[in-house]
Amino acid sequence: MNKKFIIIVTTAILGFAFAFSVAAQTSAPTTGAGLKDRVKDLRQNIGNIKIQTKTELTDIKIKAKRAELNIQLKATQEAAKKRIEAAREEAKKAVEARRTELKDKISKLRDEKKKQIATRLDEQLTRLNAQWTDHFSNVLNRLSEILGKIELRATKAETSGKDVTAVKAAIQNAKAAIETARTSVETQAKKTYVATFSSETGLGAAFKAVRDQLHKDLFGLRDGAMKSAREAVQNSLQALKSLNF
């Protein structure tokens, strides 16, 4: 019985081995065109695996760069916001005495309508400066985000073997231009617009002079540092476009 069992098991194993050797012959040809095809397939598979590994490594690098840029952007934006708030607080304290004096003078005006207009103008001048410095700061935040995208795209191009030296230089210029603009916005936020007049007859001229100064400063900032920052980002994009990536 035991001998029979050994014979059965041995025969079964031999049969199993035979079946698989036949199957292996079918799946892995060893002669002629079949073998060539098999080698070609293997080479193709190796090539695919290499490409996949390279793509995965690039993806990891890009993800890391994106995370790094996001952290940098958030930190820069928070810092800029705090700097502007501090500048405004500083300006508010610096002008406190003059503003009290102005309010005192306005309260002494005999014409009630002029009193209301002067009060309103004083508030509007301060509000407009705050509103526009906030707007410029937001524009710079947006430009920084766009520059981040350009930087990320440049990193991708670099990993694909493109020469991104010119793009990197343009990005550095843009970063410097944005930083200069941020400083200019901060300086603008520190500025105060308080009319000074000695008599009721000089009221209009005093407010007009302050209004003109605000106009000059806001347009100076917009057409100066803000425009330069935007152009610098545009130049970075242009450099990126020239890679044809």
């Binding site: 079964a12 695919n48 996949q52 509103q131 935007r230 994009l237």
Partner: protein, 78 residues
């Protein structure tokens, strides 16, 4: 009689094992682990130069002129 019964069992076992083996081979149980090629997509990229260009074009530095003109209405009454 007993011997022929044993051989019938041997044939049945061989046939069963061969069938199981063929099925395993056919469904790829002996193949190396398949790569993810063709399944895993590269990270989606929406930051093309065209997208960035659109983003930049939509950035409006603004014009304080209108706000300042609104002040003028009050100024003219002083």
């Amino acid at each position: 009689m007993n011997t022929s019964k044993t051989w019938v069992w041997v044939i049945i076992i061989i046939a069963a094992l061969a069938l199981v083996g063929w099925a395993a081979w056919y469904y790829g149980f002996f193949s190396p682990v398949a790569t993810k090629e063709g399944v895993q997509q590269p990270v989606l990229d929406r930051d093309t130069t065209a997208d960035i260009s659109n983003d930049l074009n939509s950035v409006d530095v603004g014009n304080p002129d209108q706000d300042l003109k609104n002040l003028d209405a009050d100024l003219n009454q002083l």
